[in-house]
């Protein structure tokens, strides 16, 4: 379980506004959060609630309009490209669509070699690099010997997503943001992907942040759940507290929208 002492990533009043004037859209509205080391967090909300925008701000892919993000207690500084790269050694992401996450023109080796380079292993001898890549691939049950010299589009969706995890295994970041990692692959591969993510968490002790609309997945994996509606966190707490005893009507609605197997699924409430 997460120790409540070591803050890993936190934020106060984080806000993102897109457009201005008539088109002003408040995507993320003054959210406060505190993620601890080794914790598994889920941010749940429906489409358009601002979860992906928040994830992009955490990753430093887009700037914040207002508010501060703190990394390990320090104010995050990503003002230059060099500092950004340094930051990305600590925070990495897996995205929803594995099919568009890879550069079609780069071979799989290049994807993995990039990770080794980012970690500072650029000058390692070739055998060392191959050993590292083989190890990473075997962690997710892929065979590097079969993958080398192949292009990403030759793999299935599940295999691509597993390769993503192999990347994370090479980088061993402190924080991993998984933005709907399983919504585009089938239920059976989903179990495999979650298995590997959990195994990786157990080995490296990293903080995992799931961004998802699937409250079932959130309940299954996480320690802490944040429910997001229209850019605001409306409810947060431990998974059991939020999902089994929801207080907010929005949370209740999200839960009632998920098809279940032991309870009746009430279709009359849409």
């Amino acid at each position: 379980m997460a120790s409540k002492t070591n803050l890993c990533l936190s934020g106060t009043g984080v806000t993102k506004v897109f457009g201005f004037g008539r088109n002003r859209t408040l995507a993320v509205d003054h959210v406060d959060f505190a993620f601890h080391e080794g914790e598994i967090i889920s941010i749940v909300g429906e489409s358009g609630s601002g979860k992906t925008t928040l994830a992009k701000m955490l990753l430093g892919l887009i700037s914040t309009t207002e508010g501060e993000i703190f990394f390990q207690g320090q104010k995050r500084d990503i003002s230059s490209g060099k500092k950004k790269k340094e930051y990305w050694k600590n925070i990495q992401a897996i995205f929803q669509d594995p099919f568009s996450a890879y550069n079609t023109f780069h071979k799989i080796d290049a994807v993995l070699l990039d990770c080794i380079k980012l970690r500072g292993g650029d000058r390692l001898p070739k055998e060392e690099k191959v050993k590292l890549m083989t190890e990473a691939c075997s962690f997710v049950n892929l065979k590097f010997a079969e993958l080398t010299n192949k292009y990403p589009f030759e793999l299935s969706g599940g295999q691509m997503q597993r390769l993503m995890i192999a990347r994370i295994f090479l980088l061993k970041p402190k924080i991993l943001i998984a933005d709907e990692p399983t919504s585009m692959i089938d239920a059976c591969s989903r179990a495999t992907i979650l298995d590997y993510l959990m195994k990786l968490r157990d080995e490296t002790g990293m903080t995992l942040i799931f961004i998802t609309h699937d409250i079932g997945l959130a309940y299954y994996v996480s320690d802490t759940v944040y429910i997001m509606e229209h850019g605001k966190f409306v409810e947060s707490g431990t998974a059991d507290a939020v999902i089994l005893r929801p207080q907010e009507p929005y949370t209740r609605r999200l839960i009632s929208d998920v098809p279940k197997i032991y309870e009746e699924w009430d279709l009359s409430t849409v």
Partner: protein
């Protein structure tokens, strides 16, 4: 007994690749759906679910080819009909299909009403603009969709609304059988519920007579379907009522699939998910014996040699495994 809306006997279809290799993606599939029933089809990616859906319509175009079997829709045998005739008189009227990414079919430069006009005129060439509009209005009213949508462009609609619009267009001519291939997997849970409710309402009001629902989301399938067929490598491996398939699966593959269910209900947190190792076999040269043997936990020597027929249990249940019902239940109990 209720009227049988769709009956398929021993349907086999194949893909011919550009290297002239035969891939049997649907292998001796038989099924029947009675009026008012929903049949669910479950299985991993690449197990032939979508190919089965395409084959059921009797509309074949390369690389998909018909090999053998019969398709009977409400007493009308459509086996061997020419593709053009099938398109003119069967598709849309007798049987309709909603593909996985249906909402991408909408043309971004045209209003929804123009899109409906195109579809309607393909079947009723004589209709003028006003007739199409009246038809579309009454259709949307029947299905509970707002009429404003007709005058909008696709970009103005949300994903869920686009999907419901496309479903409305697919059922314009009130087909007898609707095949829905993952109609809600690109949507979030709230929009998914709206789509399912719309399909359910169409069934209840008799707008469509029977439905085939394809998905890999088992909790969803359990709530939608009356019966579930589990498909693996082009074959049916289990056929049972929804309740039996989820709570008491017989085939080891179905058992594995049911082990990957995640739902937000108490007591199901941190339950170990049992992923099935490996991938489905390449159907260019399928294994001689049981197709699941490579990945099966309870595999025996004979499994890899002899092919396994579909054993019937009782009136509405069948499975494809060398072990008997009692033996299977025993190995599952020992495994837990």
């Amino acid at each position: 007994m209720a009227r049988v809306m769709l009956e398929v006997r021993d349907l086999t279809t194949k893909y011919i690749t550009r290297y002239k290799e035969d891939v049997y993606a649907v292998d001796h599939v038989s099924l029947r759906i009675e009026e008012g029933k929903t049949l669910g089809i479950a299985g991993e990616s690449g197990c032939g679910k979508s190919t089965l859906a395409l084959s059921l319509m009797g509309y074949y175009f390369p690389p998909l080819h018909y090999t053998s079997g019969e398709i009977i829709i409400d007493g009308q045998n459509i086996t061997g009909m020419k593709p053009d005739d099938v398109r003119k008189s069967i598709l849309g009227r007798e049987i309709a299909y909603i593909p996985q990414a249906a909402m991408n079919a909408l043309n971004p430069t045209r209003k929804i009403i123009d899109f409906i006009g195109d579809v309607v005129r393909a079947h009723e060439p004589g209709w003028n603009k006003q007739m199409v509009y009246d038809h579309a209005r009454s259709l949307f009213a029947t299905l509970g969709l707002p009429a404003e949508v007709l005058q909008k462009y696709p970009v103005e609609l949300s994903g869920g609304m686009k999907q419901r619009t496309v479903i409305a267009v697919a059922v314009t001519l009130s087909p007898k059988v609707l095949i829905a291939d993952e109609p809600s997997s690109a949507l979030d849970v709230t929009s998914q519920k709206m789509v399912i409710k719309m399909l359910r309402d169409m069934m209840n009001s008799g707008f469509i007579k029977a439905m085939i629902f394809i998905t890999h989301e088992l909790p969803l399938l359990y709530n939608v379907a009356d019966e579930i067929m589990v498909m693996y490598a082009g074959q049916i491996v289990e056929h049972a009522t929804a309740k039996q398939a989820v709570f008491d699966p017989l085939h080891p593959y179905s058992k594995g699939l049911m082990g990957s269910i995640i739902v937000p209900e108490s007591g199901l947190r941190n339950v170990k998910l049992t992923a099935i190792p490996g991938v489905p076999p390449n159907l260019k040269n399928p294994p001689a014996g049981c197709r699941f043997a490579e990945r099966c936990k309870y595999v025996k020597a004979e499994c890899k040699v002899t092919s396994v027929p579909l054993y019937e249990v009782g009136y509405d249940r069948a499975y494809r495994c060398v072990l008997t019902e009692t033996e299977l239940r025993r190995v599952y109990q020992d495994g837990e």
